[in-house]
Symmetry: C3
Amino acid sequence: MKKNLTLVVLAAGIGKRFWPLSANKTLFPFFGKPLFRFPGQIPGQITNIVIVSDLENADRFRETETPVAKKVVIQPEAAGMADAVLCAKNELSGGSAIILIADDVAQTGLLEQLVAKAASTNASGVLIGWKTPAYFPGGYLRLAGNRVMSIEEKPGAGNEPSPFVNIFAQYIEDADLLLAQLSRTRSAADDVYEKALSVLMKTHEFVMLPYDGRFASLKYPWHVLDVMDVLLGELKSYKGKDVVIKDNVILEGPVYIDDGVKIFENTKITGPCYIGKNTIIGNNNIIRHSHIGAGCVTGFNTDIARSYIGDNCWFHGNYIGDSVLEGNVSMGSGARLANLRLDDGEIKGTGRNKLGAMIGTGVRIGVNASIMPGLKIGKDSFIGSGVVLAQDLPDNSFCTAKPVYEITKNKKTASGSRDKFKQKI
Amino acid sequence: MKKNLTLVVLAAGIGKRFWPLSANKTLFPFFGKPLFRFPGQIPGQITNIVIVSDLENADRFRETETPVAKKVVIQPEAAGMADAVLCAKNELSGGSAIILIADDVAQTGLLEQLVAKAASTNASGVLIGWKTPAYFPGGYLRLAGNRVMSIEEKPGAGNEPSPFVNIFAQYIEDADLLLAQLSRTRSAADDVYEKALSVLMKTHEFVMLPYDGRFASLKYPWHVLDVMDVLLGELKSYKGKDVVIKDNVILEGPVYIDDGVKIFENTKITGPCYIGKNTIIGNNNIIRHSHIGAGCVTGFNTDIARSYIGDNCWFHGNYIGDSVLEGNVSMGSGARLANLRLDDGEIKGTGRNKLGAMIGTGVRIGVNASIMPGLKIGKDSFIGSGVVLAQDLPDNSFCTAKPVYEITKNKKTASGSRDKFKQKI
Amino acid sequence: MKKNLTLVVLAAGIGKRFWPLSANKTLFPFFGKPLFRFPGQIPGQITNIVIVSDLENADRFRETETPVAKKVVIQPEAAGMADAVLCAKNELSGGSAIILIADDVAQTGLLEQLVAKAASTNASGVLIGWKTPAYFPGGYLRLAGNRVMSIEEKPGAGNEPSPFVNIFAQYIEDADLLLAQLSRTRSAADDVYEKALSVLMKTHEFVMLPYDGRFASLKYPWHVLDVMDVLLGELKSYKGKDVVIKDNVILEGPVYIDDGVKIFENTKITGPCYIGKNTIIGNNNIIRHSHIGAGCVTGFNTDIARSYIGDNCWFHGNYIGDSVLEGNVSMGSGARLANLRLDDGEIKGTGRNKLGAMIGTGVRIGVNASIMPGLKIGKDSFIGSGVVLAQDLPDNSFCTAKPVYEITKNKKTASGSRDKFKQKI
């Protein structure tokens, strides 16, 4: 390891695939902090941090406090990972580097392990190899013992050279070597970075740090649930200041309750669950395995399961299953986010059987509305009462039910009292 | 004050503006008694009560017990307040009078205060001046010190001669003076009474009794909620005979529970709330700041907030917010009365942002029906299951959902067991 | 009584009237056992059992254990009761017989009483006479004292020769006498058996065993509820092995909880109720007077009243009233089975005012769907979210809501926070 070890946080890139959620994935908040803050503790060997940002979000990265001096550099266009690293050229030159993919999420400690491995090896580079439980569309490592010979992008199920995929971060002993190779490498596909590393591997030793923990990569909006799972897996019970918990509230498993939270009677929270600041969990709720942001009100009789809820959401007698609500979403009484097809089949293109809605900010949903599984609803859209929504909605949509009823003269009269039914209950 | 002090209760008038609720507003029941019974204790100085009624409802006034001898006189047509007072001419002549507007509701004690003021003043009349918190469409008092110089009807916001509005009741030392002036005064608008008083004020001293308590005037059906607020503001906790309260029932704040009421498990009632005789509050309910009449059954899992519910209503898994149900209304499971527009905007013409439905007697609403905010539903109407109602319904309407579905051959089969999902909860 | 007393269980017959439930009514399961197992304890005097089955289901009868040696004989076609008894000719000849109608359900002990009566009488036959509480479409007994003179099929209300109807089982001292008469009797209607008995009554003494207990006959699918009522009437509280009952679960009245059942918090079960093996009753449920099969999951906030639920059903925030679900039925959150017309009128052709849906196996129902009272839904049908179903569905139907909404550009924006509403709750 050279004297200077720089952590390059690749956080640029406006992800169109992430719609209807806000563009920069690495700023998506979990537990009140943007995602890029979650690599864990910064090891002492790291002397500089460089964040590569897109132009729009650079200020937000600048505002975020980091334990080590940081610099924010701009990647003018979303031109891939190699280009992003080259944007940090001036900051990297002459030292060692760890290239961190900020929308890759692993268990806490993995960055520390990588630094420790870097400190103890004579190799020119260290790659983390995630042992995939099933085929994963990433860069698989071709290995010779523990030495990495090349990275093979998306080989297809059955053609994997090993079970290990390149994820999260790479350590490069000589940053200049990497920068030079990145400048030279050309590819028609979006794999310049991996190709450049593979070229270096022919002449230099790269070794693998194996990892078989939880991992998620934030590309599509439903991946928010995967990232949430990784992060919830480390959650510990906590109770902040000015928390009010009423009678007959059942907390099971790890539940993080931030300051000012109120939880009303006859409600159960099954952890792991995060409840953000000043959120009100209403009466007779059930909340399971979910992230609830700050300033929310869940109202009476709401059921939230395996879902990400951002800040300032309002509910009331809703079912929200396997869904992602970015924030400032309100649902009228009886509105439901369906999360399972009638035939239990895959929600198209997601690899998931259970998936509810993915909803941008500023959305309002009327009473008794039904949103079909796997739909995406653009920000600032309104969905009327009783709508049975069966398609994605672009941003700023106004979707209302047509009046499909007939009004005629009523020829019948209701009985004045229904006391006859009282006995039968 | 002359020897005879007569209280004239102006209770005539079939209010079309009060539709879909029953015509005579002053008979609208609160806490099991008609509204006109709520001026509070009748002070001892009052020797006679005259109720001015329309023809249709005269018997109902005659039947109501009063602590002082009363006479009911008929106003043949809804010809305004001056005409109503003149209908009581024979009963008033030779004495003093308090003219009470029976659909004006103030805190208990205001009538006593007016009588005490009348007894202690040398003035020819006393008007109550309600200090309005915001512009109110009533008769504003032009003052010189504490002397009332004239009444100015609906001057428009910004043009008020003072913050005080003429409400509830007026004391007149010489009833004959008033009667003579009422006979002489002419006006194209419905303000003969106020004009006549203003004429008298030029030659006689009228003083103001200021009032800054709660006040509501019952003109439109949503005003029932305002009147309810005034009356609930004085409610005290009470528990009648033969009341059954099951385990884990939470009562918070003042809750009046009349005889024979049953409240089932896991239900919370947040006062002020009135629960009428023999009403059954079901399991897992939440009832907040509401009036529930006698003989109701709220069923399982009902949520009632800030609403007036009359007698003999049946619910079941409903949401009822900021709504007025006169009585004998039933709602099927999952039917909801929406009370907030998607844009949080004003419910047209009401000055309210939160307003549910206003529903006459004998109405039936099917399962999963959705009633949009601020709608009026005429008596004896039926609304079918699943209807998303977006318009008022006249009396005796029959409104049913058209069948908007397709039936084809099912090519899929459900799995015999869903055990795979059991672990994921 | 002759030496051999054979119990003939008439269990054949594919009942088309029983659709959408599976064909052979006598195999319909209650409490985990097929219906034909419910005549109660087999008295010791019975030496043989003969089950008359249709061809399709014979193996299922053969597989069922009985306390006495049994034989299964086949009735090739659904050719009526007389034909069914004649199918057992070889097994009956030379002895006495009790002819048991396997889809007639009475209280436990009635078979024992019949055998005891048979043992103590000199009469040639004993008929049970059920004292009908109201007109019942069956065979009424014309009596002379306690002697039965004839059976009069469906005489019409007001024309009953006595209040007693022939139900459940008949004892015949000389089976050969019956068999001979059955062979000789002809009728255009489906009453050969009753006519044959009536002929024998002219020359032989038949006496009545009166019965005024609970009784139900399983002909139409809604009769499952009547049979359930009879059987639930005898239910006793029981708690099996490995049962988990969480905090604040209220059990009232007789509740039978089979092995492996889990009941979650804030749920009330009002007996009589049967809960089958390994079923999970979720949080905040209410279950009243119902049969829930094995392997079910009721989810959060489900309300089941007076209903029969078979095995492997999944619910979630549903209302299920007065309904019959054969098994493997799933309902999405907020789906409701309506059980009462808006005018409280009779559900056509059933004699019931309260009746929900009758649903075959393998049915899936989407979120917020509404099923109108008294509908029949054929097996393996899917019903989409938000459908307001107003007609029966044949087997294998796919019924989905048409998209009845409009999408335009939204001109409004939701406020970022709804904190202004927090104070008003």
